[in-house]
Amino acid sequence: MEVELRNITKRFGEVVANDDVNLTIRAGEVLGLLGENGAGKSTLMNVLSGLYTADEGEILINGKPVDFKGPGDSISAGIGMVHQHFMLIPVFTVAENVILGVEPTGKIDYLDLKKARLQVREINQKYGLEVDPDELIENLPVGIQQRVEIIKVLFRSADVIIFDEPTAVLTPQEVTEFFEIVKSLRDTGKAIVFITHKLHEILDISDRISVLRRGQIVGEGDPQTTTQTELAEMMVGRPVSFNVDKEPYAPADVLLDIEDLTVLRENDDVAVDGINLKVHSGEIVGVAGVQGNGQSSLIEALTGLTRVAGGTVKFNGQNITHASTRARHRMGIAHIPEDRQRMGMIADFSIAENMVLDTYYDDRFSKHRVINWPKAYKNSARVAADYDVRMTSVHDAAGNLSGGNQQKMVVARELSRETMFLIAAQPTRGLDVGSIEYIHSRIINARDEGDGVLFVSSELDEIMALSDRVVVMFEGRIVAEFDATTHPLDKNTIGLAMAGAVA
């Protein structure tokens, strides 16, 4: 089967997400679609999967033009998509998720779950995917959830399978396993589209590479002959340096001292299980680990957002185990939350209001609980200019900013005051390369000025580039610790620790 996208253009309001894109997908081949965040890769594939309708252009299957009115049409045409954010229903079982939309039924619409289970088992056997059809999705680790997504696609007998950033949530070892699955699918004659912004992965897996930048195809590459540097330049549009400059490692006193910290989730499961960790002034400690191994709970406990069930947290010698979020903030702890849209900013508020979201109460901006807005506006404008937040006016709604600028706004708010310690969670998730570089430089800047930094990210490359020390979290514990200043970090070793394989 061959799918051709011809002259696809897709606009959202003023923004052109795809601009006259041509692409061919062939059976038995892995097409790598490379592009940085916001380049329009997902939009293009959503057009192909029928979720969006293109404004211009057409889709041809085996040379015949098709018209997708919705995802249903695309599915029946044999196109399946594994989304970056899994499209699984957490409270449904594996079998229910797999059959949803193409359910086997009996009389009076009766849902034949027995048959569904059998069918899931059949696919399991055929492709060597081990998944229990009766398990609830919410009880499964992300790696297995991804397999469920693959089973879903296979269940609909798709011939074209699109993977959108599939490795974001996997450990390096899981990535290897996943690549095996992809290759075996290709060898059975499926056409695969592999979307990513990770250069080494695309070189590993693809048979052919197309690079998307600002909605346009800017180049094609043969993985045999192309290098990472060439691809990076194509993707970003300028030469990219992979090195990060920072001052020599000079840690001073212990700033943050965590002892036996235990944190529970809402359902009383243990999220953080007796962690011990010290962070010094002037160092970046990276926390590596697959998402959902307690990193979020650790941050919530450190910032006073959740109750600590056991252990102590000391900051600068003071016990802050049960201190409020505000008290910690006042002590000079800055926090870049992991989800800027949900936790870091208020989209309906103006940029100026967002800039004082956690400082509005202090002496600089208010007296006797009355806010001095003119002063706050002026300060916001100055900080925004300082931190390269691109906008037209500080009175604009923050929701109108691009993702990169929103994150810069959050970073500006957190770092533009006197800080001693920075907790940064996934600070570059979903950003373009320019913004990533800028935010990295600001974090390193804070460290060079003597702040302690706790840096949590699920992108191992990023952790390895920035950190002075790396700890690995697995199932709520720190299972390994690496010192980048004495030995160079080894991706494989860290990857193994992320999977819990530590003596």
């Binding site: 959202f12 409020s324 870091g344 979201l357 404008a381 906008m391």
Partner: protein, 377 residues
């Protein structure tokens, strides 16, 4: 900082002129909403066998009864005062993301408390007694709403359900209180309270023109409240916290605001405003309490707050409109014999259209700019 960033930051301070879309939302949509609601009201009358001439007469009566004379204006303002007070509290609740349907009950409880203070303490001078009675109303209403706030903060029980239950309970509670020997008027078997003493009554404002004009100094209480709520919402840290918790509770929590406390404070404040509205009715208009003296003001206040877009000035305007509908509606009932319940239909329709700007745009494609919604990827 260098000069370049200095000039850039100067530029960033400039406020953009309000866009056409804002203007449409603030002015065009409400105007269309009122017009459509009036037309549909006429349709409702037609459907219930009212002839065209009567419909014409009733809409004339609606205008005459609301702004056609000094008495009409006095009635409009008298009806608007409690509406605005109660819906100011509601507006603060909306801003903080709380849907307080309990204004009716809070109003009853507040009004009841004001009456009790109002008929007690004989011999007290007005400048002590009246404020005391007003404060009693606000405090009682605030505490009553505080129950729902506390339940929400402590257990997560949704305020919509708990405030409705508190409404239903307040009717019974007022019935009970009105039959207590210390409250019930001497020599009466029906539930009716003693009369408020002169020293606790809100003085009438237009008695020098005609002693029958009911407009009273609660009007000033209301105007002060409008200004106060504006200041509270937009100039103080409390207001900032309220608005932040309403717009994005999670972000507010991450910014170190204490959501539970804010919920309780907002509910108490909303209840206090409703209680004040109740006190305004009992001390200014009725002079005593009877079952159901709230007369649905607490529910109309929801509509007023929605129509006023939860902005104090908008609430004032919307309150005046609803006050006018109320006063005009009474005239309509007298002149044209059309039930005043028609006003309730018109009010409900107005809110539907206000809440659904997309619907209004569809009905009236002209008068609006073509929709350009910047989508996200």
């Amino acid at each position: 900082m260098n000069e370049q960033t200095e000039s850039l930051s100067e530029k960033l301070l400039q406020r953009a002129a309000p866009g056409r879309v804002d203007f449409e939302d603030m002015v065009v949509v409400p105007v269309f909403a009122v017009i459509v609601a009036l037309i549909l009201g006429a349709v409702a009358m037609l459907a219930t066998n009212v002839d065209l001439a009567t419909i014409g007469r009733s809409y004339v009566a609606l205008v005459v009864g609301s702004v056609g004379s000094v008495n009409a204006i006095s009635e409009t303002l008298t009806a608007a005062t409690p509406l605005v007070l109660a819906s100011l509290g509601m507006a603060v609740g909306f801003r903080a993301g709380l849907f307080n349907i309990g204004a009716e009950g809070q109003l009853l409880i507040g009004g009841m408390a004001a009456v009790i203070v109002g008929f007690s303490f004989a011999g007290m001078p007005t400048y002590v007694h009246l404020p005391l009675a007003l404060i009693a109303g606000a405090v009682a209403g605030g505490l009553y709403a505080g129950i729902a706030g506390w339940l929400r903060a402590a257990t997560g029980a949704h305020e919509v359900i708990s405030t409705i239950m508190l409404n239903l309970m307040s009717y019974r509670l007022v019935d009970y209180i009105l039959r207590l020997p210390v409250v019930q008027r001497e020599g009466r078997a029906d539930p009716i309270s003693r009369s408020v003493l002169d020293s606790a009554e809100l003085p009438r404002l237009l008695e020098w023109i005609d002693p029958n004009l009911r407009l009273h100094s609660g009007l000033f209480v209301m105007l002060v409240a409008v200004f106060l709520v504006y200041w509270l919402l937009f100039k103080t840290t409390f207001g900032f916290e309220f608005r932040a918790s309403g717009a994005n509770p999670e972000a507010a929590r991450y910014a170190g605001m204490r959501s539970g406390l804010i919920i309780v404070i907002v509910m108490v404040f909303a209840g206090a405003m409703a209680g004040l509205a109740g006190a305004n009715q009992t001390l200014g208009v009725l002079g005593r309490a009877t079952p159901g003296f709230s007369a649905g003001i607490g529910f109309d206040a929801i509509a007023v707050a929605l129509l006023g877009r939860s902005h104090p000035v908008g609430v004032l305007m919307a309150g005046l409109l609803f006050g006018a509908l109320e006063a005009g509606g009474r005239q309509m009932q007298v002149d044209a014999g059309v039930s005043i319940d028609l006003i309730a239909i018109i009010q409900a329709l107005i809110i539907v259209f206000i809440a659904a700007p997309l619907l209004v745009r569809k009905i009236f494609p002209w008068g609006f700019q073509k929709e350009t919604r910047a989508g996200k990827e």
